[in-house]
């Protein structure tokens, strides 16, 4: 595990992307294949399931460090990361890891069904043996979430360099629910078996937001326009009489949407559709909160299926008659998709075809965008007519032009320490609105401020703390921020009675006193 820990440390200590890619490529080239495979798995968020709760980890670490639980918790709140706290608290061993990365992870996996005492013995003895960096990595494997500024895209690039393989081919091979426990480096990446391909999805193509000069630079003739549907992106695969539904997060969600099963009977084998899963409560598109009910449940009962039926809004065809169709120009894919839709209409499948519009001017496109609320979309998608279906977020042919967000001025009332790069800075904020002379919490928001503003707010929080609750501080209400959000819906789960989607800080209203912030009534007026 030492080589992997050194890799993580080296990745952590450079800011240069090329250097990171080179470090990763060297690791992939030199590490034993089963270690390299686990590294790929960890960096693409495929970690073994957690063998032990974090509260036990805390308890065992505090015990080993000889600290009272309260002191351990204080240290944890300040460091902001459990794996790092434990790595720092215990003294550095000169011994270091004896096992490889794959061996260590195999042990961690085997730990899960064991007795608590046995788990404790293993974990404490590892902590004592490992160096500080190794201990950090070991803890991260257990607790999950390597945030080291390595996107899947960068990792794939490095892997491509190491294996001398095309990046897009690799990205495709890396998709799906594989784990190093059931495959090998060779089988997954170098010579994949056809049988493993049955459920494998294609990497999703993601759009960029339009930039200010977009409309000057591009001709509307080159683009087609669709509404941007506000549901859950999905890829539906029909192969050999089976169907698979994948989320954008590469999760297999077939079981959550049993109403899509008829697709397997009616669509030809070798059909892959890209689209949006939308809730259709009363035969029309519902709001995102409806869908949330479906996503959140482990089992989907008959009542839920009846209350929140879904339909699949299709807009792209990635595989047709078993052939990868992604490099076929978009307008041809769309034609083929429309044909498929029309020819299968008689089966009354739970799907809709996303309408493709063509406009001669950007003004006309803008008018269509005004219809977003009426069509229950969150704005428009602008897609180049002749574009391929690319891999990941690539600038160039797909753009999203969302409706303008709704905004409201709210007061900062609580702040919490952040994580990762924001560790030990107060970066996670709670905002409140006026209601009968009191400030009522309405949302949290994490992003939107510059690093400089974050430092200023951090200083304000530290100097104006009213009360502390672990990592959270209540602050004197004084700062006003303009909060932007996409959707708004009534909610019984929120104190304010309202839930907003994608809240973020638009700007700091230095010019406003808290008395001038908005009220809950103002917010509720936005409920349509």
């Amino acid at each position: 595990m030492n080589a992997f820990a050194q890799l993580i440390e080296a990745l952590d200590s450079t800011n240069k992307t090329n250097e990171k890619v080179a470090l990763l490529a060297t690791y992939f080239r030199t590490a034993p294949q089963n270690d390299a495979l686990w590294a790929v798995a960890l960096l693409s968020h495929r970690r073994p399931s957690r063998p032990v709760s974090t509260s036990l980890l805390r308890e065992w670490a505090a015990e080993l460090a000889g600290l009272s639980p309260w002191l351990f918790e204080e240290a944890y709140h300040i460091v902001g990361d459990l794996a790092e706290t434990i790595a720092l608290l215990l003294s550095d061993s000169q011994k270091g890891a004896e096992q490889s990365l794959a061996e260590t992870i195999t042990d961690i996996i085997a730990l899960k069904p064991k007795e608590e005492q046995e788990k404790k013995n293993y974990i404490q003895s590892q902590w004592q043996q490992l160096t500080s960096t190794e201990r950090f990595v070991f803890n991260k494997i257990i607790t999950g979430g390597f945030r080291i500024g390595i996107s899947q895209k960068l990792m794939t690039r490095a892997l491509g360099q190491a294996l001398e393989l095309d990046e897009n081919t690799l990205a495709h091979r890396l998709m799906g629910t594989w784990t190093p426990q059931t495959t090998t480096f060779e089988d997954l990446l170098i010579t994949p078996h056809a049988a493993d391909q049955l459920s494998r999805p294609y990497p999703f193509y993601l759009a960029y937001a339009v930039e200010d000069d977009f409309f000057k630079k591009h001709s509307p003739e080159a683009y087609c326009v669709e509404h941007k549907w506000d549901g859950m992106r999905g890829q539906l695969i029909v192969r050999e009489g089976q169907y698979f539904l994948w989320s954008r997060g590469e999760e297999l969600i077939t079981d959550k949407f049993p109403e899509l099963a008829p697709f397997a009977n009616h669509l030809p084998s070798g059909t892959v559709l890209d689209g949006e899963i939308l809730p259709y409560p009363q035969g029309v598109i519902g709001n995102f909160n409806d869908l949330q009910k479906r996503i959140g449940r482990k089992t989907v009962g008959a009542k839920l299926l009846q209350d929140v039926p879904i339909r699949f809004m299709i807009y792209d065809l990635l595989e047709w008659e078993g052939i990868d169709y992604r490099t076929t120009p978009l307008h041809i894919r769309q034609e083929q998709l429309a044909l498929l839709y029309q020819s299968h209409k008689k089966f009354d499948l739970p799907w809709e075809l996303s309408q493709v519009h063509h406009f001669a001017t950007w003004e006309a496109v803008a008018q269509e965008r005004e219809k977003a609320e009426q069509k229950r979309s969150e704005g428009l998608m602008l897609k180049k007519k002749d574009s391929s279906y690319a891999v990941g977020r690539k600038k160039g042919s797909w753009w999203k032009w969302k409706s303008d967000p709704k905004t409201i001025d709210a007061v900062l009332t609580f702040a919490m320490r952040g994580h990762g790069r924001r560790t030990n800075l107060y970066t996670d904020y709670t905002f409140a609105l006026w209601d009968e002379g009191k400030l009522v919490t309405f949302t949290k928001a994490y992003s939107g401020l510059t690093d400089k503003e974050i430092r200023e707010v951090d200083r304000y929080v530290k100097q104006n703390t009213l009360a502390r609750f672990g990592p959270v501080r209540e602050v004197t209400p004084k700062l006003v921020f303009e909060i932007a959000f996409e959707g708004i819906a009534a909610s019984t789960r929120h104190k304010s009675g309202v839930a907003v989607r994608f809240p973020r800080i638009l700007r700091w209203r230095h010019d406003k006193k808290i008395e001038a912030a908005n009220s809950l009534g103002d917010l509720k007026k936005l409920l349509s």
Binding site: D12, N15, E74, I78, V79, T85, G420, T423, L425, R455
Partner: protein, 333 residues
């Protein structure tokens, strides 16, 4: 009345009518060390260790200042004062105050390791110990500084081999000289930014340092390539730093123990090197004084005081204006 009180102007000894490291202007100030949050401008009279005299004269200009030796007892209104080594930066002291058999010690800032340029810390027996605790959390465990200096020289040598300039950043008083003292001049030339250069110049009469060359407008950039440049943290990302050509950035601070702080600093290489005591160092210092009472002044004051109470000391915190709370404030590091 307690021997030392925490007032709006600073730590006050009423019996002698003097202040210790005051944050507002006072007639007579005893100063622990030269950092700007401890030695402030505008006092009528300064008393400090004689090694600190040129430092505060350089920083504060024309002031009235008297220098004392370590351990030299002097009396003000019948109260006994003396300065004792704090090991924080050159010329830094703890201040011992004794009146009618009662002894208080104010640490200013301190560390226990010998940094090679400051007179090493000496524990002073007292009843009440007023201590900093900038790094008063058990997560701070400093490595042997010898290892850190080796890492720094290795980083420099590797950059040199690759033809890249090493920009090493640290606070201009103390850290810069500590770094300089342990750089290996066999690797290459050491260039300096104006701030650490001037402070080093002030200290050359007291301490032996490797040769340095100040970067000026006339300095040929080709000469710098592959060598080391010592500069304050503020130059990170500045136009000044951009002119240095291809660089690898290094930053030395105790805060670099935190991964989040390392990533925010966005330097290529972070070195965990502090002029403050770590957790064990603080505990060791408290124990060595044999004190009954502890007052924590800046840093993780509440946590450290609570821990000490748990261990049987009579410990409390007092608010001061010495800076310490965040990794973002690099003052007095």
């Amino acid at each position: 009345m307690p021997l030392l009180e925490f007032t709006s102007r600073g730590i006050y000894c009423a019996a002698a009518d003097v202040y210790l490291d005051p944050w507002k202007k006072v007639p007579k100030a005893l100063i622990t060390h030269g950092h700007s949050d401890h030695a402030r401008w505008g006092n009528q009279q300064y008393i400090t260790h004689h090694d600190n005299v040129p430092i505060i004269q350089h920083r504060l200009g024309n002031i009235t200042v008297a220098g004392k030796s370590y351990g030299e007892r002097f009396s003000i209104n019948g109260v006994q004062f003396s300065f004792h080594p704090a090991g924080h930066v050159p010329g830094s002291s703890q201040i011992r105050v004794e009146n009618r058999g009662e002894v208080w010690v104010f640490t200013g800032d301190y560390k226990l390791e010998n940094d090679g340029i400051s007179t090493p810390f000496e524990a002073v027996i007292c009843h009440t110990f007023i201590t900093e605790c900038t790094f008063g959390l058990p997560v701070f465990n400093w490595q042997d500084p010898v290892k850190v200096h080796r890492q720094i020289n290795q980083w420099w040598a590797a950059n040199k081999a690759a033809g890249i300039t090493s920009l090493l950043m640290g606070y201009s008083l103390g850290k810069a000289q500590r770094l300089l003292k342990h750089l290996d001049p066999k690797i290459g030339k050491i260039f300096t930014h104006g701030a650490p250069e001037k402070m080093t110049e002030v200290l050359r009469s007291q301490i032996d340092f490797p040769e340095t060359q100040l970067i000026t407008r006339e300095t040929n950039k080709k000469q710098i390539a592959g060598n080391l440049v010592l500069a304050p943290p503020a130059v990170m990302g500045s136009a000044w730093a951009k002119k240095l050509g291809e660089i690898s950035t290094g930053y030395a601070s105790g805060w670099m123990a935190f991964r989040g702080a390392r990533r925010r600093r966005a330097v290529d290489k972070a070195f965990v090197l502090s002029d403050h005591a770590d957790w064990k160092g603080l505990l060791h210092a408290v124990e060595a004084t044999g004190c009954e009472n502890v007052i924590t002044t800046h840093g993780y004051t509440d946590i450290f005081a609570q821990y000490l109470r748990e261990k049987g000391w009579n410990a409390r915190t007092e608010k001061t204006q010495y800076e310490a709370e965040t990794p973002e404030t690099t003052v007095a590091e």
